[in-house]
């Protein structure tokens, strides 16, 4: 069955596969508008998917970002997104496997300090959300500290 006459399941699978850039068939299921073609419009979704997840990682791992630099961080983030699709209702947990990913995946595994930094930064966030976290401590833990780049990194 082609995507434009497909059932609900066919259409949803085609949409998701389009966002994951694993299939282009969803283009046939949607309309152009008079002002924009469907590829431009579908790009809002496809680009939004990656950018939202990269932003979540940027929030969780400012120190890692400072160590790696924006371009390498972006590359790492996209590799992580492909390897670890989100399975949690909250985007808050999307980045939880970054340290394990970095220690297991070349070329990142050749820089152990990267995985160490990721493990440290994730633990900072966890400490704030844990049941044992101090109560009424102001918002010190909410705005995760923007760590200075490690001099020896």
């Amino acid at each position: 069955m082609s995507a434009n006459t497909g059932s609900l399941g066919d259409l949803q699978r085609a949409f998701q596969d389009y966002l994951l850039a694993s299939s282009e068939s969803f283009q046939a299921a949607v309309h152009d508008t008079r002002k924009a073609d469907r590829i431009t419009l579908l790009d809002v979704y496809r680009n939004g998917y990656a950018l939202r997840l990269i932003e979540a990682l940027t929030t969780d791992y400012p120190g890692l970002m400072a160590m790696a630099g924006p371009a390498d961080f972006d590359h790492m983030a996209r590799a992580y997104i492909a390897a670890h699709p989100s399975r949690h209702p909250s985007i808050r947990w999307f980045g939880k496997d970054v340290a394990d990913f970095l220690s297991a995946t070349p070329p990142y595994s050749r820089t152990p300090a990267a995985a160490e930094m990721a493990r440290f930064e994730w633990a900072l966030g966890e400490a704030f959300d844990s049941p044992a976290a101090a109560r009424g401590v102001g918002d010190a833990g909410l705005h995760r500290p923007a760590l200075a780049p490690a001099a020896d990194a």
């Binding site: 609900l8 949607v30 008079r34 985007i91 976290a133």
Partner: protein
Amino acid sequence: MCAAEIGFGLGLRPEHYEEIAASPGRVSWFEALSENYMVPGGGPLHWLDRIRRDYPMALHGVSLSIGSIDPLDRAYLDDLKALVGRVQPIWVSDHLCFTGLRGQNMHDLLPLPYTEEALDHTAERVLAVQDHLGRRLVLENVSSYVTYAASELTEWEFIAELARRADCDILLDVNNVYVSAFNHEFDALAFLRAMPRERVRQFHLAGHTNKGSHIIDTHDHPIVPDVWALYAEALKLFPGVPTMIERDDNIPPYEELLAELDVARRIAAGVVRQAA
């Protein structure tokens, strides 16, 4: 508490926790993002409980994925039910969309095809969720950037029929109506007029980003004049429905959002005067 008493609210955002707690009474209620508080404890729940003591609160979710062909996520529903027990919200809302399938969360509000099949499927799931939570759901119209060739109904026909079949309520996002009407060139007023009056439980207002050929629902700017004008029309059709402003990015000082909420209050007061 009747709807007209609930009044004007804001989204509960971590950037404003301390000011909100320090200056009660500046708004009438808050809308908390459910998933942010589905955590074991710590800071987020501390602030939620603290602010809930001073304000009525609605719970607004983004991951129910009510239209997905995946099975309903029972663990998510159990967590939501526990949060509902903790907060005792004025209502519980999420979006008319799907957020992924095969267990994956795309963290986006993806539009459904407006077909009879999608209507049957979604209505059945709304009923199941309402049964699980023991209360009515409130579902929001989303902004969309594409429409499906397969659609058999308009979005407004789909929503009105879903509300009737599933006995759920509607969160009318005025900005989303505006954005989708611009993108797909339909009449925003026709959308508003098709909403069953007794089911419109809440309004959302927000800012967006206009790309010329299409508008993206970014919640990172102040509300634009055209959306305020559409809001005034919505108030004429659905008088007294509680309103809140969503701001999710480029979050300004609390005072700026309070000033924007005052604009909503003035527009509502003007509509009431005109009607009198």
